[in-house]
């Protein structure tokens, strides 16, 4: 029996050692989401700790003439990105499962910071695996994680970025599975992770839909989000999937376009669209944005692409940098380089009203942007 499938994508391609933990997690998650107490606690934390609901802002000066661009301001969440929505929920789950040690991977460092933050809040031990190259280019986030009490383990081999960090986090989990909760940062990995992360991020889309209706009196023509592993995009899309008139557009980094130029392959526990060669060996991704610099993507996105419900396009490093500068100059907002990809494509999109997921703020990227 194959579990956790989105069309032909998803599944559980992991060593047997992890299967009992994944089954325990599935049961724990099913019980939690049916438990009014858990949902109330999550909701309360999202309000008073994360700062939800986040506003829906309008970028009138950023938008080209004749177009309205709305920004879902996840950059205003505690810790500065949408990653905390997922981290809070999974940390509560870790507590319910009786785990005291949390392990996670991080690329841009935003998921690492979010995880270190909730671990500090709930008194959990926290170990973050991060590629050495990402530690260099996202230095402020490394310092933040350490100040929050996390141990940051550099990954010095292979690409030294998110792909290897994820592999090392999974190996850590394999070795310590009896005591450790793996707090995955995007809607990737073996079942049930893609489903858990999607559901915890769906708050973005549900809020945005109601707010857009209030602001516009109708739904936007298009909803745009950047796609690394795909968690902020799937969370935003979740609010609009049933609204057939709303176009859903995911924006990948051109050098990390798992959906636009990948093929079906198995990576990090699931089958999805992946940058891989004809033998299934995983190829290196390249992006200025550490959070998009990943050769895989969540299985649900591969399915949404195949069914045609969502479209996936790419933006170059230069387009993202230009959008970063434009948002700073026109709206007084420094976006993270990841959502700068979504902003870039929102500008030239053929739609009158566009809602963009502004998934995080750009403080972490200043050195990288200034060096260009």
């Amino acid at each position: 029996m194959n579990v956790g499938l989105y069309g032909d994508y998803g599944g559980r391609y992991v060593p047997e050692t992890l299967i009992p933990a994944l089954e325990e997690l599935t049961r724990g998650w099913e019980a939690a989401r049916a438990d009014a107490g858990f949902l109330a606690e999550l909701d309360s934390l999202l309000k008073r700790y994360v700062g939800r609901p986040t506003p829906l802002d309008e970028a009138a000066r950023f938008a080209p003439a004749g177009k309205r661009i709305l920004l879902k301001r996840e950059d205003l969440c505690h810790t500065g990105a949408h990653k905390i929505n997922n981290a809070v929920g999974q940390a509560l789950l870790a507590g319910r499962l009786g785990k005291h040690r949390v392990v996670a991977e991080t690329g841009a460092g935003q998921h690492g910071v979010a995880t270190a933050t909730v671990c500090a809040r709930f008194g959990l031990d926290c170990v973050i695996h991060m590629g050495a190259e990402d530690m260099r280019r996202q230095r402020p986030n490394v310092d933040r994680m350490k100040l929050l009490g996390a141990e940051v383990c550099p990954v010095e081999f292979g690409t030294k970025t998110l792909k290897e960090a994820t592999s090392e986090a999974i190996r850590d989990w394999i070795a310590n599975v009896e005591t450790t909760y793996y707090l995955i940062g995007s809607c990737v990995g073996p079942h049930p992770y893609p489903a858990i992360v999607r559901e915890l991020q769906a708050v973005i889309g549900h809020e945005a839909r109601a707010q857009a209706f209030e602001a516009l009196g109708r739904l936007p023509g298009a909803v745009v989000a950047c796609v690394g592993g795909g968690s902020n995009a799937i969370g935003l899309f979740a609010g609009f999937l049933e609204d057939e008139g709303v176009r859903l557009i995911g924006v990948e980094a051109e050098g990390a376009a798992s959906l636009a130029s990948g093929r079906p392959a198995v990576l990090h526990g699931s089958r999805s669209s992946v940058l891989a060669d004809a033998d299934g060996q995983i190829l290196d991704a390249h992006s200025i944005s550490a959070g998009l610099d990943y050769p895989g993507v969540g299985p649900e996105h591969a399915h949404l692409r195949d069914t045609g419900r969502a479209e996936y396009v790419t933006a170059t490093d230069e387009q993202a940098l230009a959008a970063f500068r434009r948002l700073a100059a026109t709206e007084g907002i420094l976006p993270a380089l990841e959502p700068a990809h979504a902003l870039a494509r929102a500008l030239d999109l053929d739609a009158e009203t566009v809602l963009v997921g502004l998934s995080g703020r750009g403080d972490k990227d200043l050195a990288e942007v200034l060096a260009r």
Binding site: M1, N2, V3, G11, R12, Y13, V14, P15, E16, T17, L18, I19, P20, A21, F157, G158, K163, S167, I170, R171, I174, A175, N176, V177, E178, R263, P264, A265, V266, L267, H268, G269, R271, A276, D277, A278, D279, G280, Q281, I282
Partner: protein, 222 residues
């Protein structure tokens, strides 16, 4: 790990007393492997050991040695090659069976292979894996990735005891078995032992070093 030296190394291992040879088909992101085998996979891929080269290596090795050959790999290679085609190609190239490190017993049950169970496996999963396995059951001695260890894992004994109650298939123990003393202790419990990282380290020093290492393990078993 498959490479240009594999036929010679396999012949040396058989001369040293090996009854079966596992041949790694390298994958770029081997989640079940520790540093030694991960690095060996990186080296093999850098030397061009894609699936076609691995199949050729398997064929040449089967012409050199008479013992069963079992490729060990990851699901990504089968996904890319085609699950059924991969299985028939390795059989044509002389493989006796197959191990897929990231394919638990309930994924792709139609693929004939040696199943793995671990100390974390429930009794239900051990029974399922034993029912579906091809010839023998691979007992992962420890909760962790591959790699040489100082001690034989204490989790092996209770795992063997549980598996014996659930199945009659032969049980081979692997992961972390590194020395003749480990081999002797593991063989008291299981029906066979699998040595990976430590054999790989010996193989790096050449065929005669590998033959001596395997002979030292063999001697410890009798």
């Amino acid at each position: 790990m498959a490479g240009s030296q594999t036929p010679d190394l396999a012949a040396a291992a058989v001369a040293g007393g090996a009854d079966l040879i596992e041949i790694g088909f390298p994958f770029s992101d081997p989640l079940a492997d520790g540093p030694a085998i991960r690095r060996a996979a990186e080296r093999a891929l850098a030397e061009g050991m894609g699936t076609a080269a691995c199949l050729d290596c398997l064929r040449r090795t089967s012409e050199r040695v008479a013992v069963p050959l079992v490729p060990m790999t990851y699901a990504a290679l089968l996904e890319a090659y085609g699950w059924e085609v991969f299985a028939s190609e390795i059989e044509n190239a002389g493989a006796e069976s197959l191990i897929v490190a990231d394919l638990p017993a309930d994924e792709r049950p139609e693929l004939r292979r040696v199943q793995l169970v671990a100390p974390t496996s429930t009794n239900e999963r051990i029974a399922l894996a034993a029912e579906r396995t091809d010839g023998w059951l691979y007992l992962v001695t420890l909760t962790g990735t591959t790699g040489a260890r100082r001690e034989l894992s204490p989790a092996l004994e209770p795992l063997v005891a549980r598996a014996r109650r659930l199945t009659d298939v032969p049980l081979y123990a692997g992961f972390g078995i590194s020395t003749p003393a480990h081999a002797a202790a593991a063989a008291e419990l299981a029906d066979g032992i699998v040595v990976g990282s430590a054999a790989l380290a010996a193989a790096c020093e050449g065929a005669s070093a590998l033959e001596r290492f395997v002979a030292s393990l063999r001697a410890a078993l009798s």
